[in-house]
Amino acid sequence: MKNLSLNHLSKTYFDPYAGKHVTAVSDVSLSVNQGEFVAIVGPSGCGKTTILNMIAGFLPVSGGEILLDGQPVSGPGSERGVVFQSFALFPWKTVLDNVGFGPKMRGLSKAECDRIAREYLELAGLANAAERYPNELSGGMQQRVGVVRALANNPEVLLMDEPFASVDAQTRMTLQEELTRIWQERRPTIIFITHDVSEAVFLADRVVVLSKGLVLKELNIDLPRPRVWDALMEDDAFKAMSAQVLQLVRSA
C-alpha cells in the first residue's frame, strides 16, 4: 500500500535579487509507504526544505504532482502534520492549548481537546508543563511540544523540517530516541529533513540523498529497532552506513 508519492516534482521560482529564475527542485520522484520513516539528507540548497514545503502545501508545485492516498495535494491540510525547525509554537497559547489546537480546529469540545492534549503531553513527558507558556520552556521542551502538537491531530504523514537542528547536542540525542519510540508506538508516516547524516541513519528506515534538486541515491537502513545511541554509537553497521551516506552527501 503506497501512501505518499511524489511524481516528477519540480519547483522553480523567480529570484528578484538575482533577476532570474532559479531551480530549487528539478525532478524528484519518491514513494513512501504508510508507516515508513524516511529521512531526506543533502547539503544546503539541495532543495530538501522546498520539497517539504510543497508536500505541506505551503508552496505550489511548478511541475509534477504530489499524491496522498492517490489524491493530489493542494494547500495545507491537517492530514499532513508539520514540525518546524523554529518550533513555531503559538507564544500566546499555553502548552496545553498549543497541543489542543489541532483538535480544536477539528471542532472538538474544549474538554475533549484538553483530554487529547494531556494524553500527548504525557507521551512526551511534559505533563507538568501544560499550563506554561512556550517562552518559559527550554528549546528541547519546546520542540517536544512541537512534535506532539503535530501528532495530536493524528496526521497520516508527519513532515519534519530539521526539527532538532536548533537544540544542543545532548538534548538532540534524547529527542531522537524519543521520536523513534513515539514513532514505533503510533506509526505515522514520517518525512524527516536533515543535513545531519548520523541523525538520518539513526532515525530512518530509508535515507534519500538529495543533490541539486535531484535524488542522488536511496538507501535502506536495516538496523534493528528500538535504536538507542548507547548501542549504535559504536556499532559497526551503523558506522559503515553513516560513512556511506556521508560520502554521498559530500560528493553531492
Binding site: 505541506a56 502545501g57 505551503f58 494547500g75 495545507p76 491540510g77 491537517s78 499532513r80 502534520g81 508539520v82 518546524f84 523554529s86 513555531a88 509554537l89 503559538f90 507564544p91 500566546w92 497559547k93 489546537f101 489541532g102 480546529m105 477539528r106 507558556y133 512556550p134 517562552n135 518559559e136 502538537r149 503535530a150 491531530n153
Partner: protein
Amino acid sequence: MTHWLHQCWSFYARLTVRFPVVRSIVPFIPVVAFWAIVAQSGVFPPAFLPGPLDVLKSFGTLMYKGILPDYMLDSMVRLLVGTGTGIALGVPLGVLVGLSERARKLLWPLLLFFQAIGDIAWLPILLIWFGFSLTTMTVVIVYTVLFPIVLNTALGVRSVPVVLSRAARSLGASPTGVIWHVVLPGALPNIMTGLRNGLGFGWRALIATEIIVGTSGIGFMMFDARRAGSVVEILLGMVVLGLLWYIVDSWVLAPIERATGQRWGLVSSQQ
C-alpha cells in the same frame, strides 16, 4: 556620600515594592514643591500664578458643586466613544492592509494623505457640516485615533512570522481561524502601541475640540475659566488632564500589556 545616596536609593526601591503607590507620588514632590515656592515668593501676583493649595481648594469646591465630576465624565465618555469607534474601524482596516498586498497598494497612499491632515485641520469644515455638536467632537477623536491604530496594526500583522500561520494552517485552521488565533494575537503588541499613541493624540484632540466646540468638558472648563480670568481653574484643568491620563495608562493600558505581550515573551517587560 555616594554610599549614603546608594542606601537612600535602595530604601526607596524597597519602599516602592511594598507600596507601589509611592512610585507614582514621590517624583511629583519636587515639582509641586518648586511650584509652591515660586507661587509663595511673590514674583508673580497670586492671580497670575496661584499655588498648589489654591488649586486643591478649587478642586474641592468644583467637586462639591458637581461641575468637575460632570465635566470629567463628559470628556471621558467622549474619549471612550471615539476610541471605541476608532478601534472598531481601525483594527479590521489594519488587518486588511497588513494581510492583503492589493489592499495595501490601494489604501496606503490614501492613509498617508489623510493622516497628514491633522485632526484640528478638519474642525472648520466639520463645524460647517455638523455644527457645535457631539458629532463634530466624535469625528475628530475617531479620526485622530484611527491612523495610529491602522498603521500599527498593519505593521504588527506583517511582523507575525509566516511560520506561525503555516503551523496553524497545517493543524487544520481556516483562513479566518488563522486571523483569529495567529494574526490578531501576534499583532497585539503593535495594536497596543497604536492604541496608546492614538489615545494620547485623541486625548489632546479632545481637549482642543472642547475648547473650540465645547459646551462642557475639561477643555471647555479651562477655556471658560480664561474668559472669567480664573487662573486657578485653568491650572486645575491642566492637573486633571495629567491625572486622568496617568490613570488610563496605569490602570488600563499597562495591565493589558503585562497580561499579553510581556507574558508571552513577545515584548520584554520594563521595570
